[in-house]
């Protein structure tokens, strides 16, 4: 963790401890969402710290102090002497801007907040910031299925829907919904798929006829854990070599990762490798980049892209350039 984050943690913890005299270590850890050891380490550091004082020698009266016996015997934190700090710090302008933008994004979702709440909170955050936050606005886009799916997650209801998978096959899926996630404008449901007996990720905009299966008990294993990343590489993934115009590389971050390994190719282009689950996704990705992404090998991947683009072109009554 960066030292700035550590400092921010100390500056946040002190006023909390002052306001919550005798708070158990476990409760403080739960409140801040950190391990108990992190609280203990911070409290120990706070108790050693203070101001130089008149003598400039950090005399006992210039330092914070805590009730050590109480900490050791009852695992409770009580500050018995405080210096310099008593209130929570203000937000930085950037912190306030981040919260305001995030607020606009989540407020655009169903059942979150009305415009009035957002305006009130924005005003409060602006006043609580040191410096004017940069103006940041987010126009969110919600999916029409979001309300229903979100309710099902909260209630633990089993969902049934028709799903069109990435291979253009439509089939009925029965799932135990676990989490609704979004990436900017795209919405995903992560769920236990009862037929596949595995965790799967579904795009909300590919679902049709979403309905609940009332009264169904969960079947998934109890110890199941959702990985943090939405897309998991699979052993069955294939590797494809592509050449990409340099300007386009950042736009492919979702597929290449934030720090893709690239080699120089012809002038203005780089060569890199892409892992894909199937050619259906690849041909779309490449066709949408109008020649700025080129599949080098394997041959069947090149053919798939060419056929896809040519078929698209043929719809306009021409197959030549």
């Amino acid at each position: 963790m960066r030292v700035q984050d550590r400092l921010a943690f100390l500056l946040a913890l002190v006023p909390y401890l002052l306001d919550n005299d005798g708070v158990p270590v476990a409760q403080a850890a739960a409140h801040f969402g950190v391990p108990e050891q992190r609280i203990r380490d911070a409290v120990e550091l706070i108790a050693m710290s203070g101001v130089p004082g008149e003598t400039k020698a950090y005399q006992p009266n210039d330092l914070f102090d805590i009730d050590w016996d109480r900490l050791e015997q009852r695992d409770e934190i009580a500050i018995t002497h405080q210096v310099a700090i008593d209130d929570s710090p203000r937000f930085s302008a950037r912190e306030a801007a981040a919260l305001i933008a995030g607020l606009q994004y989540v407020a655009a979702l169903p059942a979150n907040a009305d415009r009035e709440t957002v305006a009130r909170l924005t005003a409060k955050l602006t006043r609580a910031a040191n410096g004017a936050p940069a103006a940041v606005a987010v126009e969110g886009g919600a999916d029409t299925r979001l309300g229903l799916v979100r309710e099902a997650v909260a209630a633990g209801t089993v969902l049934v829907f028709d799903y069109l998978n990435g291979r253009d096959e439509r089939e009925e899926r029965t799932v135990e919904p676990l989490r609704v996630e979004s990436v900017d404008e795209s919405w995903y449901l992560r769920a236990w798929d009862r037929t596949r007996r595995a965790l799967r990720t579904f795009r909300l905009d590919r679902m049709r006829d979403v309905r609940t299966l009332d009264g169904a008990a969960p079947e998934r294993p109890e110890d199941i854990e959702l990985p943090e990343r939405i897309f998991q590489p699979s052993k069955q993934d294939r590797s494809v070599t592509i050449e990409v115009a340099e300007a386009v590389v950042p736009l492919l971050a979702d597929y290449l990762g934030d720090r893709p390994q690239t080699q120089p190719a012809r002038r203005g282009w780089v060569r890199t490798r892409l892992r894909i689950a199937h050619l259906h996704g690849l041909k779309r990705l490449v066709a949408g980049r109008g020649g700025q992404v080129v599949v080098v090998e394997p041959e069947d991947a090149r053919d798939a892209v060419r056929d896809w683009a040519a078929a698209g072109l043929a719809r306009y009554g021409s197959d030549t350039i």
């Binding site: 909390y16 130089p52 203000r90 995030g102 709440t117 940041v136 950042p250 683009a309 040519a310």
Partner: protein, 329 residues
């Protein structure tokens, strides 16, 4: 010799010392007396590396939104050793009348968690700490709901900083259909995400008018100039958003979608029905919609506008040709 003082302890001690002083401390006071510096301080000079440490620490502390002031004493204008440093408590403390309800905390938690990656994730994490500091328990946490905002464009951070500092920026911008990057000088006013993409809105000093730029079309670094500007009246973020909404409403494409395909599912979800198998989709940027439509290959036939037909055909033709298709392929 005393055990080494951690960076964390030194920074914390510096904040405490500067909060406790009314009149301010000189650099010499700080280096010679504050925990973490005093252990390395040499009374007879040669403290250059310690001074550099102090400069970095000041920046780190200010970055957190702590109002660390330097006061130049009038009589000693320009003499660095007489600059005094302090953190005025009134500007450090969260104003007492700013309070949040448990419902508001729950909403702000969600807002902060939306920035889980990339730009602003560090800021959100620290903002969340400060919210926790108030000791308000959030209303029922929203289990199983994880909206996520991203700002992956490299231009985002420098633009946000320039907006805060009211500095004119210069950057290269590649408009679709043009083959040459043009240099723009812009007084940036607001960042707006619309349709999942980040835009910067500001005064284009070349065109002498307000403009909105797509961050993904900025090429090369965003350079902050020394030139500053006055904030114009009004709410630039709202004006930019209203502008994008108006463009979005005015631009309409008619797309024929092949039933039971990815295109029908995804573009169909976004548009309004406009006849048998046809949907009307609104858009802010023709080139971006053309990228998206071309990706669906034969699943979409563009009916209108003709410019979109041309743009999609050009993309498909280029993709086919690059993979050995087209004339003579």
């Amino acid at each position: 010799m005393a055990a080494a003082v951690s960076n964390e302890e030194r920074l914390f001690s510096l904040v405490l010392a500067l909060l406790a002083t009314e009149t301010g401390l000189t650099k010499a006071d700080i280096l010679s007396s504050v925990q973490g510096y005093r252990q390395r301080y040499r009374a007879n000079g040669g403290n250059a590396s310690l001074e550099r440490q102090f400069e970095r620490d000041k920046e780190d502390i200010r970055d957190l939104g702590v109002p660390l002031e330097s006061i130049e004493l009038p009589a000693d204008q320009g003499a660095v050793q007489y600059t005094r440093y302090r953190i005025p408590k009134g500007e450090y403390d969260l104003p007492a009348d700013v309070t949040f309800t448990p419902q508001e905390i729950a909403l702000l938690d969600l807002a902060a968690l939306a920035w889980r990656e990339g730009s602003l994730s560090g800021e959100s994490r620290r903002a969340l700490l400060k919210l926790r500091s108030l000791g308000i328990e959030s209303e029922e946490p929203l289990i199983g709901f994880a909206p996520r905002l991203r700002a992956r464009d490299a231009a985002f951070d420098p633009l946000q900083q320039a907006i805060e500092r009211r500095r004119v920026v210069a950057f290269g911008y590649l408009k679709p259909g043009e083959d040459r990057v043009r240099r723009r000088r812009v007084a940036p006013l607001a960042l707006v995400q619309f349709g999942g993409r980040w835009h910067v809105h500001g005064t284009d000093l070349g065109a002498r008018d307000r403009r909105t730029f797509l961050l993904s079309r900025i090429t090369g670094p965003v350079e902050e100039t020394a030139e500053t500007f006055e904030a114009p009246p009004g709410e630039p973020a709202e004006e930019a958003r209203a502008g994008l909404r108006a463009v979005f409403a005015a631009n309409r494409a008619l797309l024929e979608l092949t039933p039971d395909t990815d295109a029908a599912a995804r573009l169909g979800s976004r548009g309004e029905p406009a006849g048998e198998g046809v949907v009307a989709v609104h858009f802010t940027d023709l080139a971006l919609l053309a990228d998206e439509v071309a990706a669906f290959g034969p699943e979409v036939l563009v009916r209108e506008p003709p410019e979109l037909v041309d743009a999609v055909r050009a993309r498909l033709a280029a993709a086919a040709a690059a993979h050995g298709g087209g004339t003579g392929g």
